[in-house]
Symmetry: C2
Subunit: 306 residues, 2 copies
Amino acid sequence: MENMEKNLLETIADIRGFMPGSAFNLRKNGEGVERHSTEHVKISAKTDKPGIDIRIDANTVGESIHIPVILTESGIKDVVYNDFYIGENCDVEIIAGCGIHNDGCDTSQHDGIHTFHIGKNAKIVYSEKHVGEGNGSGERILNPTTVIHMEEGSYAKMDMSQIKGVDSTMRKTEANLGPKAKLVINEKLMTHGKQKAYSDVTVNLNGEDSVVQIVSRSVGKDTSVQVFHPIAVGNNKSRAHIQCDSIIMDEAKISSIPEIAANHVDAQIVHEAAIGKINNDQLIKLQTFGLSDEEAEKVIVEGFLK
Amino acid sequence: MENMEKNLLETIADIRGFMPGSAFNLRKNGEGVERHSTEHVKISAKTDKPGIDIRIDANTVGESIHIPVILTESGIKDVVYNDFYIGENCDVEIIAGCGIHNDGCDTSQHDGIHTFHIGKNAKIVYSEKHVGEGNGSGERILNPTTVIHMEEGSYAKMDMSQIKGVDSTMRKTEANLGPKAKLVINEKLMTHGKQKAYSDVTVNLNGEDSVVQIVSRSVGKDTSVQVFHPIAVGNNKSRAHIQCDSIIMDEAKISSIPEIAANHVDAQIVHEAAIGKINNDQLIKLQTFGLSDEEAEKVIVEGFLK
């Protein structure tokens, strides 16, 4: 593996290659190039369309599954379907992520459609980092779709971030929660240049005592455009808390269109959103420590997205 | 005037008839039935369509203008255009409101389209109460449209409430704020039975240092449906605060879809929304004072919408 590829893997998945003993699937330029299963985590290629099935046995605890995707050739359009079947009582970590290194003039695009079937009382922590890099004029496009079905008493924490360098993204997330299911979504997004980012999140609280918490933080720089559209629908006794905070800089435009719907008398739904520029007092304080305008902004933005 | 009509007037406009010395226009069952101007407030019938022009001289201070509408016959569909021209430096109060008393089996409907032109540094307090009553099976429908143009330094406080008995309402409000203009909207809405209420509010913060504050409070009972869609668009250095709180009861359904858009780096926009049922501790406290379930709920709902 080239050094550039190892660096990309490190950025998106905190690894520099396959980790012995753990389940792993690396997809590169539209093809599976390395795959390892373990006793309780079986990864197999789909036969009807591009992508993999990840089947995790019931009661599997403590395993980490890495399924990174990298695109290093210019002009590739990759569509992949990954289905996760997580057995009852599991407690596992899944690390996805996609890095595009585009040095060419053609568009490189990855559309990952992830579907999670989370069994009764299972617990997952999922992280997904998206990044674009390279010196080519070709666009870097990432359109992730995430569908989450949660059975009774299951728990999912989804950390989804787009770090930088992604020219256009259309993020779609849909979750259906059973009784006592709890979903936590942390979304982090930074756009710069002429980038565009759209994020639609729909959470259906179908089961009694289901809970969702969505925290979305974003920074829009230069002339970039961001549109957030989170929807929480309380169809049963349930709780939802959505919080969207955005820092607007330069000539950026940011919209937030949350939708909360209570279809049940015991649905309790709260939403908060704020868009504003960097706090001036914070800037001045950092500047008195000797930081330049740019350095101070960098510290604040990184702290905000941490 | 019949007693029923006087009672309706009192409910919607806190008066029981014409108040001598003040500007007044009463519209009843689709026709203007009484009209009075004052030296500085001229009310005249439109010649091209139903409705009135209300012209208030610059520097007019302390006047109250009452323009109530009542529908007491079943089966009337009334559309009316009222245009307000408020001169510079005015400080006036405008009391609108519409009451429908429908004892028949046909639909009674009033669509009031109000357009405000608020001059430089002028200040208005506007209140509009909507109510439906009567024992007929005919529907009571109220579709108010309010358009507000605010010049530099102007101030408007709009108290808009729908008390009860309105079967269907489609409320549209649009405001365009000039430099240093400040708009405060207080919306209160109660629905019961099979009622439906939709409220769209769009505020364009076009001028530098313009400010809007929207507070919407609603209670949905029985099988009623409410949908709120407030939009604040910051096109300049500006501030917006939107707050929507709803109490859901019985089999009601309530949706809140606020939209905040920052198109300028110095636009500061905050939104908060919450939907939930009546606080149980409050209910229990009132019940220990000897109130029945129903009485306790009534006290809480009235306090919330006060």
